[in-house]
C-alpha cells in the first residue's frame, strides 16, 4: 500500500538529535523531506544528561552551528547555565557547555521543525526499507503503508530492539517508558548489514523538594554566558546553579551488597558499554581504593523539580538504588522520580558506511547517531547534519561533502567511524583530534562557514558578517607585524604588567608571542588607530581574540600545519571504490581482509585502519599508481 499523496526526496527515520539536524539540513537544501518519529511529543528529547556541549562535544556544536545546523541556536534559547570549560587551559581546548531546560529545548527544536518549509513530521514506526537494484526507494511503516522517497536517513537511537534493565527486572523499551522499534534491525540484516549490540545507562532522577541543597556545594555558571551559535547575540534565559555532593563509604557498601542483583555483574547484559561513562557500580568495583565519587545535581529544567544525578548512572535494582542514593549527603530523604537504568540496543558497524554516512552497499541509505555506535547528542547531531547534507547533494547529483580530520572534529568523528572498528559506544574527545590546536571552538566559523553558505544553510548576512571578521583578522595581524613602538613606551606597559622589559625594538606582533603578553595590555595605552579600531563591539572582541590566538600560538600552529600538510597528500590520494585488494598478493592476509571489508576512501584512511602497516601502504601506493 503506497500512500500516494506525496513523493518525498528524503525520509528521516527518528526524531532525536541526529534526525532533527538531518531533516532540517535536507529541507533547507530544498529537498521535500519527511521525518518519522514514534512519538511527536518526544522529538529532540534528552533521555540522559540535561546538557549540551562539554569537552570536545562543545566543539561539535560550534561546528554544527557554523555549517548552519540548529543545535547551537536551540541551546542558546533554552540553556539555563552556561560554562566555558577548560578556561585555565589554552584556547584550543576551551569547550562550551550548557545545562538545558529539557522540555523547552525539545519544544524549541519542534518549533524549528514545524516552521521549516519542505518538512513534514509524521508519527509512525518504520519497520523496513524498500530498495531496487541496490538503491533505496522508500520505507515501510508498521501499519503496512509504504512511503516512496529517494533517500533515507536512519537515526534509530537506542530504539532498535531496545531492552531496559533495572536490577534483574527487564522490559522492552526504546527509552524509559517508550516502545522499542521492532522489525527494522531484521529488515536491515536481510539487506546484508551486520549488526552488534551496545549498552548505555542513565542515573536516577531525584525529586528536588526532597533534597537538602544547603549541605551541597553550589556550582554557578559563567557570569558572562557565551552563546554556542555564531548567530546568537546574547543569552537571555534565566540562569540557575547545579549542586555538588559525593558518595560515601556507606554508599559503596550498599552498592557492593547489591551486585548480586546487578544485570551487569550477573551476565544479563551482553551489550558493550562505554568505558568513559561507567555506571557507579563499575566505578566502585574497578577503583576500590577510591572511597568517594563526586556527584552533581543538575536541574532538568526551570519548570520542574526534578534533578539529574550526574555520576550515578546505574542499573542496580530499585531498592538498592534508593538506599544508595539516600546514603549521600543531602539526599538522606530523597525520593526517586525515575529510576536509573541500563539499556541495550542494536547498532550497525559503521565500517559499512562511507564518510558521507551513506551505506556502501545501498545507494542513498544513510545512518546517523547511535545506530552507528556513537553516544552523545552532539555526536548524533553532527552525523545527522552530514547525512542530511550528503543525501541532498547526492539527489542533486553534486559532489559529496566530506570534512577532513584536519578541518573539523566532525571530520575526525566521521573518519573514525568508518575506519575504526567501533565495538564500544564512541564519544568525541579532544585527544582524538590530532589537529586539536587548529580545530578550536573559537574558529569553527573560519573552518566551516563557507561550506554552510555554499549549501544554503547559512544565510547571506551571517556569512557577510563572517567574511568581514575574517578580513579584519588578516589585516590586523599584518599591521601588528609592522607596528614597532618606542622601547620606553613598551617597557612602561610591560613593567606595569610585571613582565620583563625589552632591550631592543620589537614589533607588537613579536611581543605578543611572549607568555603573559596580551593585546589588552596595549589597548588604550598605545595611541594608534589600530588599537582604537580593535576597540568596541562583539565583532571586534572576537577579531581581537582570533588575532591574539593566531599570533600567540603561531609556532605550535605551524608545527601542526606541517603535520596536516604531510597528511593531506595521503588524504587527497583517493582509492577507487571498486579497488580489489584481494588481487594484491603482497598485502598481508589481515590487511587485505580489512581493506576489502572497510574499503577506505583515501590512502590516509587506509593507513588509519588498525593492522594496516606502513609497508602495506607502500604496496598499496604502488598498485594504485598503476591505475
Amino acid at each position: 500500500m503506497i500512500l500516494a499523496n506525496k513523493k518525498y526526496d528524503v525520509a528521516v527515520v527518528g526524531g532525536g538529535h541526529a534526525g532533527c539536524e538531518a531533516a532540517l539540513a535536507s529541507a533547507r537544501m530544498g529537498m521535500k523531506t519527511v521525518l518519522f518519529t514514534m512519538d511527536i511529543s518526544t522529538v529532540a528529547k534528552m533521555p540522559c544528561n540535561p546538557a549540551i556541549g562539554g569537552l570536545a562535544k562543545g566543539h561539535l556544536v560550534r561546528e554544527i552551528d557554523a555549517l548552519g545546523g540548529e543545535m547551537g541556536k536551540a541551546i542558546d534559547d533554552t540553556g539555563i547555565q552556561f560554562r566555558m570549560l577548560n578556561r585555565s587551559k589554552g584556547p584550543a581546548v576551551w569547550s562550551p557547555r550548557a545545562q538545558a531546560d529539557k522540555l523547552q529545548y525539545a519544544l524549541r527544536m519542534l518549533k524549528a521543525l514545524e516552521g521549516q518549509n519542505n518538512l513534514d513530521i509524521k508519527q509512525s514506526m518504520v519497520v523496513g526499507i524498500n530498495t531496487k537494484e541496490k538503491r533505496v526507494t522508500g520505507v515501510k511503516l508498521f501499519t503496512g503503508a509504504e512511503i516512496d522517497c529517494r533517500a533515507v536517513v536512519l537515526t534509530t537511537g537506542t530504539f532498535l530492539n531496545g531492552l531496559i534493565h533495572i536490577g534483574l527486572f527487564q522490559y522492552a523499551a526504546g527509552r524509559d517508558g517508550e516502545f522499542p522499534a521492532i522489525g527494522l534491525t531484521e529488515d536491515l540484516v536481510s539487506h546484508g548489514f551486520a549488526t552488534g549490540r551496545l549498552k548505555t545507562g542513565t542515573p536516577p532522577r531525584i525529586d528536588g523538594s526532597t533534597v537538602d541543597l544547603n549541605v551541597m556545594e553550589i556550582q554557578n555558571g559563567d557570569e558572562d554566558p557565551r552563546p554556542f551559535s555564531y548567530q546568537t547575540e546574547k543569552i537571555r534565559q534565566e540562569q540557575v546553579p547545579c549542586y555538588l555532593t559525593k558518595t560515601t563509604e556507606e554508599t559503596h557498601r550498599i552498592i557492593r551488597s547489591g551486585l548480586d542483583r546487578s544485570p551487569l555483574y550477573t551476565g544479563k547484559i551482553i551489550g558493550v558499554g562505554p568505558r568513559y561513562c561507567p555506571s557507579v557500580e563499575v566505578k566502585i568495583v574497578r577503583f576500590p581504593d577510591k572511597t568517594s565519587h563526586q556527584l552533581y545535581l543538575e536541574p532538568e529544567g526551570l519548570y520542574t523539580n526534578e534533578y539529574y544525578l550526574n555520576g550515578f548512572a546505574t542499573s542496580l535494582s530499585e531498592d538498592v538504588q534508593l538506599k544508595a542514593v539516600r546514603s549521600v549527603a543531602g539526599l538522606e530523604n530523597a525520593e526517586l522520580t525515575r529510576l536509573g537504568y541500563a539499556i541495550e540496543y542494536d547498532y550497525f558497524y559503521p565500517s559499512q558506511l562511507n564518510t558521507t554516512m551513506e551505506t556502501k552497499d545501498i545507494d542513498l541509505l544513510y545512518f546517523a547517531g547511535q545506530i552507528n555506535g556513537t553516544s552523545g547528542y552532539e555526536e548524533a547531531a553532527a552525523q545527522g547534519m552530514i547525512a542530511g547534507i550528503n543525501a541532498s547533494l547526492k539527489i542533486e547529483g553534486k559532489d559529496p561533502f566530506v570534512l577532513k580530520r584536519s578541518e573539523a572534529y566532525i571530520g575526525v568523528l566521521t573518519d573514525d567511524l568508518v575506519t575504526k572498528e567501533i565495538r564500544e559506544p564512541y564519544r568525541m574527545f579532544t585527544s582524538l583530534a590530532e589537529h586539536r590546536l587548529s580545530l578550536r571552538q573559537d574558529n569553527a566559523d573560519m573552518r566551516l562557514m563557507d561550506y554552510g553558505r555554499e549549501f544554503g544553510l547559512i544565510d547571506k548576512d551571517t556569512h557577510a558578517y563572517f567574511v568581514e571578521k575574517r578580513g579584519l583578522i588578516t589585516q590586523y595581524i599584518e599591521e601588528l607585524k609592522r607596528l614597532r613602538p618606542e622601547i620606553s613606551e613598551l617597557n612602561r606597559i610591560l613593567n606595569r604588567a610585571e613582565l620583563a622589559g625589552l632591550s631592543e625594538k620589537e614589533s607588537i606582533y613579536r611581543l605578543l608571542k611572549r607568555p603573559g603578553v596580551t593585546i589588552d595590555l596595549f589597548m588604550d595605552r598605545i595611541d594608534h588607530p589600530l588599537f582604537s579600531g580593535m576597540g568596541g563591539g562583539t565583532l571586534m572582541a572576537s577579531v581581537r581574540n582570533q588575532v591574539e590566538i593566531d599570533i600567540k600560538y603561531e609556532g605550535y600552529l605551524n608545527k601542526q600545519r606541517q603535520q596536516i600538510e604531510k597528511m593531506r597528500r595521503m588524504e587527497d590520494y583517493l582509492i577507487p571504490e571498486e579497488f580489489n585488494y584481494e588481487a594484491i598478493s603482497s598485502l598481508s592476509a589481515e590487511s587485505s581482509e580489512k581493506l576489502q571489508r572497510i574499503r577506505p576512501r583515501s590512502v590516509a584512511q587506509a593507513s588509519r585502519i588498525a593492522g594496516v602497516s606502513p609497508s602495506d601502504i607502500a604496496v598499496l601506493l604502488v598498485h594504485l599508481k598503476k591505475r
Binding site: K89, V93, K290, A618, L621, V622, H623
Partner: protein, 469 residues
C-alpha cells in the same frame, strides 16, 4: 615535480656490497645535488656538474677527508627515480660508507626506507607494472628481514629501551590529556614540575643513546678483533671463513700506517676490525720476532681475541704459553677471549681440558674453517663476548648503543621535540601545547618501534583513572 609521497631527499648505502668491492651511496630528491656540493671536493674544481658524467674528488667532513670517490650526477628526469640523483662510489668498507652516509644525512638528507628508491621510481613513472609488482614483494620481504634483525640482541635491547621511553611518554601524555578531556572529573591535576622532571629523564636517556652512537666504538672504529695462535693452526683460514660467511664484509685496507692487514667484517650488525697476525708471524725469523712483538702490541689493544688451536694435534708449549697470557689478560677484565678449536674435520688429538679455557664465560667453540662448519656458533660466541662477557660495548648498567643512522635520526627528532616540550612547560604553556611536542617525540620513537595512536593514550587513561562523573 615528484608525484610521490615524499619530496624530501633520501640517501642510502646501495646494496649489495661485494667482497672488497666498491660501495655506492645513493641520494635522490630535489636537494641531492646541493647536499653533495657541501661535502664533495671536486678535483677539477669546476663546481659545475653535468648529468651522466662521473667526477673524481674527495668527500670531506670539515677538514677531514673521508675517502676519495667517484661521483655521478643524474639530473631529473633522466635518473632511476626521475628525481635529481647522486651516486657516490667510494672505496667500500662499511665503516667508510656509513660515515659518508652519516655526513649526507647531517647535511639534510633522510635515510631512505627499504625499497624507497624503487618506490619513487615507480611513482614517478620510471618503471612499469611488472617491475612494480616485484618491488612490492621486495618491500615486504625487506620489512620482514628488518623485523628479524630487530629481534637480534642489539636491536632487542634497543627495542626494550625505546619501548620503555615510549611508555613513559604515553603515561605523561595521558596524564596531560586527562587534564584536558576529563577536567570535569575531579581528578587530581598534574604537577608541572613532576612532568618536567619525568620528561627530562626521558630526554637524558635519549641524549645518552644518541651519544652512544657518536662515541660508540661499534660504528666509529669497529671492534678490534685479534686472532692469535701458534703457526699453522689455521688463523688465516679462520679469518677467511668469517669473511666468506659474512657477505657484508667490505674490503681490506692495506694499512699505510698500520703494521698489519686489517679486515673489516660485519657480524650480526656489529662492525669488527679484524687484525690478521697470520702473515707476519709465519714468515722469516727476524720478521717473526718483530712480528711477535707487534702481535703482542696488538693483543694489548684488542677488544676481543680469538685464540686458535689445532684439534688434530696435541697441545704444544706455545699453545699453553699463549693461553696463559690470554687468560691473564682476561682476568684483568679488559679483553674478551674466545678459544677456537679448528680443524675438527681431522682426527682429534687435542686435550682441551688441560687449558683453563673451560672456566671462562664463553666455552671454546669447535669449528672447521676448511669445511665452514661451526662458523655460526663462532659468530654467536663472538656476539655474546661483545655484549656479555666483558662488556666491550661499554655499557653503564642499561645503556643501549645505537648503530643505525635511521634510529639516530629518529632519536634526534625526539630529542628536539622533548626539548621543545620542556621549554613549553617553562613558559607555562597549557597541556595541549606540550602534548604536541610529546606526541611528536612519540611519533619519532614510533619510527623505531611502531606507532602510538590516540587510542593507546585513551586506553591508558581508562585503565588507570576513574573516569565518568
Amino acid at each position: 615535480m615528484s608525484t610521490g609521497d615524499g619530496e624530501d631527499t633520501i640517501a642510502a648505502i646501495s646494496t649489495p656490497v661485494g667482497i672488497g668491492g666498491i660501495s655506492i651511496i645513493r641520494m635522490s630528491g630535489d636537494a641531492s645535488i646541493d647536499i653533495l656540493k657541501k661535502v664533495f671536493k671536486d678535483e677539477s674544481d669546476k663546481g659545475e656538474y653535468k648529468s651522466w658524467r662521473p667526477y673524481y674528488g674527495s668527500i670531506r667532513d670539515g677538514d677531514v677527508t673521508l675517502d676519495h670517490v667517484l661521483v655521478t650526477i643524474f639530473r631529473e628526469p633522466k635518473s632511476y627515480t626521475a628525481e635529481d640523483m647522486v651516486e657516490v662510489s667510494c672505496h667500500g668498507g662499511m665503516y667508510v660508507s656509513r660515515r659518508i652516509l652519516e655526513l649526507l644525512i647531517r647535511h639534510g638528507a633522510r635515510p631512505a626506507d627499504p625499497g624507497e628508491f624503487t618506490k619513487r621510481a615507480f611513482l614517478n613513472g620510471r618503471i612499469d607494472l611488472s617491475q612494480a609488482e616485484a618491488v612490492a614483494d621486495l618491500i615486504e620481504a625487506r620489512t620482514e628481514a628488518g623485523l628479524q634483525a630487530s629481534l637480534q640482541q642489539l636491536d632487542g635491547k634497543l627495542y626494550e629501551n625505546v619501548a620503555g621511553l615510549r611508555n613513559e611518554l604515553i603515561s605523561l601524555c595521558s596524564m596531560m590529556e586527562l587534564e584536558l578531556d576529563f577536567s570535569e572529573e575531579n581528578i587530581q591535576i598534574t604537577d608541572a614540575e613532576d612532568i618536567s622532571a619525568r620528561i627530562a629523564a626521558v630526554l637524558t636517556t635519549i641524549v645518552n643513546m644518541i651519544s652512544s652512537y657518536d662515541r660508540g666504538k661499534i660504528i666509529k672504529e669497529g671492534i678490534k678483533l685479534v686472532i692469535v695462535g701458534r703457526p699453522n693452526v689455521g688463523k688465516s683460514s679462520l679469518l677467511n671463513a668469517l669473511l666468506k660467511e659474512d657477505r657484508a664484509i667490505v674490503t681490506s685496507i692495506p694499512g699505510t700506517t698500520r703494521d698489519f692487514l686489517e679486515e673489516q667484517l660485519d657480524i650480526s650488525g656489529i662492525l669488527f676490525r679484524a687484525v690478521d697476525t697470520a702473515g707476519i708471524a709465519e714468515s722469516g725469523d727476524i720478521v717473526e720476532i718483530e712480528g711477535i712483538s707487534r702481535t703482542r702490541r696488538h693483543t694489548e689493544t684488542a677488544d676481543l681475541i680469538l685464540h686458535v688451536l689445532d684439534a688434530s694435534q696435541p697441545l704444544t708449549k706455545d699453545d699453553h704459553e699463549i693461553a696463559e697470557r690470554m687468560i691473564e689478560r682476561w682476568k684483568k677484565r679488559d679483553t674478551s677471549i674466545v678459544c677456537v678449536i679448528n680443524k675438527i674435520d681431522l682426527d682429534e688429538k687435542i686435550d682441551i681440558d688441560s687449558i683453563a679455557y673451560g672456566e671462562m664465560n664463553i666455552p671454546p667453540v669447535r669449528i672447521s674453517a676448511k669445511n665452514m662448519t661451526g662458523i655460526t656458533d663462532l659468530e654467536k660466541a663472538v656476539t655474546e663476548a661483545v655484549f656479555k662477557d666483558r662488556g666491550i660495548v661499554k655499557s653503564q648498567t642499561d645503556e643501549v648503543v645505537i648503530s643505525r643512522s635511521r634510529h639516530l635520526h629518529a632519536l634526534r627528532r625526539a630529542q628536539d621535540a622533548l626539548e621543545d616540550a620542556l621549554l613549553g612547560i617553562k613558559d607555562s604553556m597549557s597541556s595541549e601545547f606540550i602534548v604536541v611536542d610529546l606526541r611528536s617525540a612519540m611519533e619519532s620513537l614510533g619510527e623505531i618501534i611502531g606507532e602510538v595512536t590516540s587510542e593507546d593514550i585513551l586506553n591508558h587513561i581508562f585503565d588507570n583513572f576513574c573516569i565518568g562523573k
